[in-house]
């Protein structure tokens, strides 16, 4: 029986939205975020970091530049090619691996793992999210940390807009969102208009509250989980743009 290909395995989606997802300002932001990120993860000189769902490598490259040993994992070949090109240009030694986050495991290979920019909650089956967390736990050394940065359910509810659109260098990105019953996720419809051509994509994103993400990480076996409202360890409250969960593996 042929299963339906999930939206995130559609390479055309990532190719088409590449410019609007990873614009120049996002690269600059990553450069700014790397410092507090390293602090929050307690990274010591030469520590090894797994960048899970690294995309074109914004954080992988920033962290490698700071001397950390980085492995970037993503399912999208197009992004990995770009990441490799950028690393080469800067003469940085970064390992990029094409793999599904549900399958990638390297026992006790890393001091930290990051999953940035709402790269979590893609899978139809919620058990897959738990599986990812368990794999990360296995891939961490004792005392290692796993950081997830995502749009939190509370922020999404607070700023919910059924529809809006953006314009980027002549391209229009139209977004339409519907809350799945019980606020467990968002049904998204994105329409891209480029040179008069209209492309439409639909996808579902499971969303987590701070408490829900903490509970998920605990269930996966993390000894301690801290919830923050940003990479500078701000409190997660009504002023937070991001939900940042940091799980620590027991020693």
């Amino acid at each position: 029986m042929k299963r339906k290909t999930p939206w995130f395995e559609n390479d055309a989606f990532w190719a088409v939205f590449r410019p609007s997802m990873f614009g120049e300002e996002r690269w600059q932001m990553a450069a700014k975020d790397a410092e507090p990120l390293a602090r929050l993860l307690h990274l010591e000189r030469g520590a090894s970091v797994l960048d899970l769902c690294c995309g074109p490598g914004r954080f992988s490259i920033e962290l490698a530049r700071r001397g950390f040993g980085v492995t970037g994992v993503d399912r999208t070949a197009l992004f990995l090619n770009e990441a490799r090109r950028r690393a080469r240009q800067q003469k940085l030694d970064v390992e990029f691996v094409r793999s599904d986050m549900r399958r990638f495991v390297r026992p006790r290979a890393y001091d930290a793992c990051i999953n940035m920019y709402t790269s979590f909650g893609y899978f139809e089956n919620p058990a897959d999210d738990l599986k990812v967390c368990r794999h990360v736990l296995q891939s961490l050394r004792p005392g290692g940390r796993f950081l997830i940065q995502a749009a939190g359910k509370e922020w999404l509810a607070r700023h919910f807009q059924p529809s809006d659109w953006r314009e980027m260098a002549g391209t229009f990105v139209l977004e339409e969102r519907k809350v799945a019953p019980g606020w467990t996720g968002l049904e998204n419809r994105w329409v891209l208009i480029q040179n008069g051509k209209v492309m439409e994509f639909r996808f579902f994103l499971r969303v987590y509250s701070g408490v829900e993400l903490r509970d998920l990480l605990r269930r996966a076996g993390f000894a301690r989980v801290d919830i923050h409202g940003g990479l500078n360890a701000e409190p997660y409250d009504h002023n937070s743009r991001w939900l940042v969960a940091v799980g620590s593996k027991g020693r």
């Binding site: 922020w155 509810a157 607070r158 809350v179 019980g182 606020w183 701070g210 408490v211 409250d237 009504h238």
Partner: protein, 249 residues
């Protein structure tokens, strides 16, 4: 060492806020909502219902009017006295019991249990919330349903306003609401201005998302937990004004 009494054990608070919390229109609305409530609970005529944290009894009384056998439980004596008075006036037979929801338990005595109008999440220890749900589970007949209506975390975030105020019956009521501990709870400051005097109270409430509340009910043993955006069974989504969760024993 004397422990500091939690805010919900302060009788003065409930007394002072009675008018603001239970204005006539809310009591009137309960009459209409009771019909929807009965549908959500799948109640059959004459069945036994527990109204946990019944307050002055607006749902207890309305359900009794509709012929159900009702037990109302609350910790606040003055609310129960008022509820009893109202029942007597209408010659309704309702049992009212003064008890803490963490302690009240009657094995298999009820066909349905309701807990409405933000009466959930008062306890600092989350194990107490779980205990309440377990007590309810034990107090129910198999197949019975437990309905919690509360402020959902998502709905609250959606309409979040730090400060607001109202005028109720010539009195000014001010509130300040701040999410704390990673949105897991709310700290509230309430100020009431009555006859030229100002009274201030501080409240704390655990805040549940729909999925968190569902998880709690499941842990207490409830099955097929449903989430709604109101008594009418509307979906709990971006337009929902409240969170209604119903679990089955």
């Amino acid at each position: 060492m004397g422990r500091r009494a939690p805010w919900f054990e302060d009788d003065q608070f409930w007394k002072m806020y009675e008018r603001a919390m239970f204005p006539q229109q809310r009591i009137d609305a309960a009459r209409e909502q009771a019909g929807q409530l009965v549908a959500r609970l799948g109640l059959k005529p004459g069945q036994a219902v527990l109204d946990l944290c019944c307050g002055p009894g607006r749902f207890s009384l309305e359900l009794a009017r509709r012929g159900y056998r009702v037990t109302g439980v609350d910790r606040t004596r003055s609310y129960l006295a008022e509820a009893r008075r109202a029942a007597r006036r209408e010659k309704l037979e309702v049992e009212f019991v003064q008890e803490d929801m963490r302690r009240f338990m009657r094995p298999r005595a009820f066909d349905a249990v309701i807990n409405v109008f933000p009466s959930f999440g008062y306890f600092r220890r989350q194990s107490d919330d779980l205990r309440v749900c377990r007590n309810v589970h034990r107090s129910m007949q198999p197949g019975g349903r437990f309905l919690i209506e509360t402020l959902g975390k998502e709905g609250l975030a959606r309409r979040y306003q730090c400060r607001d105020w109202q005028e109720v019956g010539g009195e000014l009521v001010l509130h300040e609401v701040v999410p704390v501990d990673g949105w897991s709870a709310l700290e509230q400051r309430r100020i009431l201005v009555r006859k030229g005097r100002t009274y201030e109270f501080r409240l704390w409430m655990r805040l549940y998302s729909a999925a968190e509340l569902r998880g709690l009910l499941e842990r207490a043993g409830f099955r097929s937990v449903r989430m709604y955006g109101g008594y009418d069974g509307s979906p709990y989504d971006s337009e929902a004004r409240r969170l209604v969760v119903v679990g089955r024993k």
